[in-house]
């Protein structure tokens, strides 16, 4: 491609991304301030005047902060335990720690409901053991949401802290010790400051994920409202203007958090990354070892329980499990329903093709963005990068509302088309949500590539296309696979955007789970959950194999 051709390609990509990502958001903001064809602050006034709105906003904020604290309290000690110490059961627990990752948000919520809910596994057990008529607790409200968040988000803290700790080399500890610092002082004065960027990264990621969390508040919220569920409720009431203002307020909160993240990214502490990692200490006395081993086995079981419960419930025939501790009867009928009943099999096919299409498109865009912004910086390169990042910061609910608002109007001259209600809308929404996932992975991979590799290919007479095909893409393979894997799993299990945009013909698995649940067809819902979980696990496994062999 000539210089000119490159610039044109860059402009086309920038324009497309602006239309896909920024335009709907801008339209949403505008609509929040319009009524009857005129500018108005009426929606904003309504928003500020209603105590429920402020409560929801405050609810979003505090539950997100509490989630960060809870996830940190679990994830950080686990990471230290794993990197620094050796004890019985270490490998078992290590394998179990990744388990929450294979549960798409709605499936995780489903599993928690089956496990800890009023008519869940634990409730059955407690009622049977103590001979109770009623379950002595209600799994609802902020506490339940927080539990789900802590379970699914401690992984961020665990992974980030581990990454930080493995970068620290043994000489850091030795230097601190030789300067007379004790263990506590080394931790507080040396290790934690060095880990600061990693901890900050995990905290912001957890915060953003909690802020955007929809499945848990939607299912367990009860009277407790957060902004994401509030938006959906307002929208269902038909108060579109107010919904837009709510959406804008949530987006602003998220963007403020993103701004914080980029500040911490900028002044990252560079730790010594050369040299050997410190050896793991085998933990001392016999009693401590045994109790740690016991604790790690119990922890592994707790981590696995949601999955097991889901699996158990998926084999329970409709309406047979009433008062017993364990289900009295089992059947494969729920799974057979999924396969045999064409109406019920449809969502699986829908989710598969929509997630695949969105993943392929987002990978293609990420590769194009890398080619146009990393080596040859076209005009607008920064804008392209920002547009790829925005959907990461903006909660899925916000995007769903924005896309629904932007593409339910036919107005070709302003580039608005009626896509809502067509088969295009969900793959498009998934694509937007996937952009930051594949974009980050591929751009980071491309930045790590030694530029002289491509130059070497050029001096050897290889054209741009041949260089891309033979050198750049093969070297980016692991980054592409990693991004695509995560993107596919996210799109495949998506609930947040789907619930706002699906049609009967394009209903994805998550919506089918919800409707099964509404019809109290718990077994089929669980079976779908197991399928989502299994596909996620298989894709992750394939991804890590493919990615690492390159």
């Amino acid at each position: 491609m000539s210089r000119r051709g490159t610039q044109v390609a860059g402009a086309v990509l920038l324009f497309f991304l602006a239309w896909l990502v920024a335009y709907p958001l801008v339209l949403t903001l505008v609509q929040g301030f319009r009524a009857g064809g005129e500018w108005t602050a009426e929606h904003l006034r309504a928003f500020l005047a209603r105590p429920t709105e402020m409560r929801a906003l405050w609810g979003s904020l505090w539950i997100s902060i509490a989630s960060v604290v809870a996830a940190g309290l679990i994830g950080i000690p686990l990471a230290f335990l794993f990197t620094r110490f050796d004890f019985p059961g270490r490998r078992l627990l290590g394998a179990a720690l990744a388990l929450p990752a294979v549960l798409p948000p709605l499936v995780g919520v489903l599993a928690f409901m089956f496990l800890y809910g009023e008519s869940g596994f634990l409730a059955h057990l407690v009622r049977a053991v103590f001979g109770l008529e009623e379950t002595p607790w209600r799994f609802q409200g902020a506490g339940a949401i927080l539990l789900v968040h802590a379970y699914s988000m401690y992984v961020y803290f665990y992974l980030f802290t581990r990454a930080g700790l493995t970068q620290l080399d043994a000489s850091v500890y030795e230097a601190a010790a030789s300067l007379g610092a004790g263990r506590v002082r080394t931790l507080t004065r040396v290790i934690l400051p060095l880990l600061r960027p990693h901890l900050a990264g995990a905290a912001i990621l957890t915060f953003m994920t909690s802020l955007a969390s929809f499945s848990a508040p939607y299912i367990f919220g009860g009277g407790f409202r957060v902004m994401t569920t509030q938006i959906v409720a307002t929208r269902l009431n038909g108060d579109d203007g107010l919904a837009m203002v709510e959406t804008a307020s949530l987006a602003l909160l998220a963007l403020a958090a993103l701004w914080l993240l980029q500040r911490t990214d900028a002044d990252e502490v560079s730790g010594g990354s050369k040299g050997a990692a410190p050896e793991r200490r085998t933990l001392g006395s016999g009693a401590l070892r045994v109790s740690l081993g016991f604790v790690s086995v119990v922890l592994a079981i707790i981590l696995l329980l949601p999955h097991l419960t889901l699996l158990l419930v998926s084999f329970v025939p409709l309406g047979t499990w009433t008062t017993e501790a364990l289900p009295p009867a089992y059947t494969t009928g729920n799974y057979l329903t999924l396969i045999r009943d064409p109406v019920r099999a449809r969502p699986l096919a829908n989710s598969l093709w929509m997630a695949t299409a969105a993943t392929l498109a987002s990978v293609a865009i990420a590769i194009a963005a890398a080619a146009l912004t990393v080596r040859r910086r076209v005009r607008g390169a920064r804008a392209i990068e920002s547009l790829l990042t925005i959907p990461w910061a903006v909660p899925g609910t916000v995007f769903a509302i924005a896309i629904a608002a932007a593409f339910s109007v036919r107005s070709p001259e302003t580039l608005r088309f009626v896509l809502v209600g067509t088969a295009w809308i969900l793959p498009m929404a998934y694509l937007v949500r996937n952009l930051p996932i594949t974009g980050r992975a591929v751009l980071a991979g491309a930045r790590r590539l030694d530029p002289s590799l491509e130059e070497a290919a050029a001096t050897l007479g290889a054209s741009r296309t041949r260089t891309l095909r033979r050198v750049t893409l093969p070297l980016l393979r692991s980054a592409i696979v990693a991004g695509a894997t995560l993107a596919f799993v996210t799109a495949f299990g998506d609930f947040v955007t789907s619930i706002m945009l699906y049609t009967y013909d394009t209903r994805p698995v998550s919506l089918e789970i919800l409707s099964s649940l509404r019809q109290s067809d718990v077994g089929v819902a669980a079976a779908y959950g197991v399928v989502l979980m299994a596909v996620s696990a298989v894709v992750f496994a394939l991804g890590s194999e493919r990615g690492s062999s390159g």
Partner: protein, 360 residues
């Protein structure tokens, strides 16, 4: 009749913002000649190489090969082979595939490609290494694969970017010899970049010394050493101590100078400063000799530090009238603290150079 030069750099200029990395650089190489681009870091030598390879486009000036202007040709169509500082071998391809990479763009039949790959690898003494992974090779072997890969498509010009900087010192000298033999055998016109004077002298038929983007001097290693054209050349090539002196008189073959009241005759070279008055003497350690402090024509001083270097040692002499000189002499010639005299050695012809006084 002299043949036309094969590779011509004509007034090349490249600016990055307000920095002029390469400033009106002109050089000409004969076919098969090896030119070393020598200079301190930041002197623009790597930019020159990238201009030649086509990765950078000059703001002014042209590059010609065999009479054809290639300035606007892309790196792809230029047919210049390049060996990168970190080799830039493709880690996902094996040795044979790396070497074959430059052959596959053309229309060569498969068997011919295989044959040429084998030939190129044999040339760098790696016959039979086709199926090795890049990660399994030592640094020296990777360097040779990079060389084989660059040479396999039979480029018109070979460019080497700091070819030895990634090798440990023990391996460097041997590899240097191998590269020199190889380039001479292939007979390819070569430009290589280095900041090591030894490397430039050993490998280059001629050496172009760059100073802040400009050509300071170009010539054979002997010329650069014996006839430095500027204080920068005199101090960058070999060692030289700078000493403020006064020119007393000039005749046809020699310049008489005054150092702290002692007079020396320095052989005069064409174009050298010839006016009486202050000047700066650049004196090489091997052009001076130690004697007793009050010998005729000796500049007295005190031995400061002594650096042992086998057969000889380098002595720092603090002159009594101010200033400092460095002298090479047998290690036992003096000890730190001794009072000595410094005189020009008998065969000092090439080692003493006069330049206009430093403006300081």
């Amino acid at each position: 009749m002299a043949t036309d030069p094969f590779l011509v750099l004509d007034g090349l200029t490249r600016r990055f913002g307000s920095v002029t990395a390469v400033d009106h650089l002109s050089l000409a190489l004969d076919r098969g000649e090896i030119l070393a681009l020598l200079g301190p870091s930041g002197s623009g030598k790597t930019t020159v190489l990238r201009l030649l390879a086509g990765f950078e486009h000059p703001d002014a000036g042209r590059v010609r090969v065999g009479g054809t202007d290639v300035t606007d040709d892309s790196p792809v169509s230029r047919r210049f082979g390049m060996v990168f500082q970190h080799y830039a071998l493709f880690p996902h391809l094996d040795v044979g595939e790396n070497v074959a990479f430059g052959l596959e763009s053309g229309s060569l039949p498969r068997t011919e490609v295989t044959r040429r790959v084998g030939e190129s690898l044999a040339l760098v003494d790696l016959a039979g290494y086709e199926r090795r992974r890049i990660g399994q090779l030592s640094g020296g072997q990777q360097q040779r694969v990079a060389l084989a890969r660059a040479l396999a498509p039979e480029p018109r010009v070979l460019l080497l970017d700091e070819p030895l900087s990634n090798l440990d010192p023990a391996l460097r000298e041997r590899t240097r010899r191998e590269i020199r033999d190889l380039i001479h055998r292939v007979g390819i016109t070569t430009v290589f970049v280095t900041h090591e004077q030894d490397e430039a002298f050993d490998l280059g038929d001629r050496v172009a010394l760059l100073e802040r983007g400009r050509l300071a001097q170009v010539g054979t290693p002997e010329q650069l050493y014996a006839e430095p054209g500027s204080p920068f050349v005199a101090s960058f090539v070999g060692r030289s101590a700078a000493l403020p002196v006064r020119i007393v008189s000039v005749d046809g073959t020699a310049t008489r100078i005054d150092i702290n009241g002692v007079e020396w005759d320095v052989p005069r070279r064409e174009g050298e400063v010839a006016r009486s008055g202050p000047a700066t003497l650049y004196a090489r350690p091997e052009a001076l000799w130690l004697t007793v402090p009050n010998a005729a024509g000796a500049v007295p001083g005190v031995v400061g530090a002594r650096r042992f270097a086998g057969a000889n040692a380098a002595f720092d002499i603090e002159l009594e009238g101010g200033g400092r000189l460095e002298v090479t002499a047998p290690p036992l010639a003096a000890r730190p603290g001794d009072r000595v005299g410094v005189v020009p050695s008998r065969r000092a012809g090439g080692g003493l150079h006069l330049f206009p006084a430093d403006p300081r």
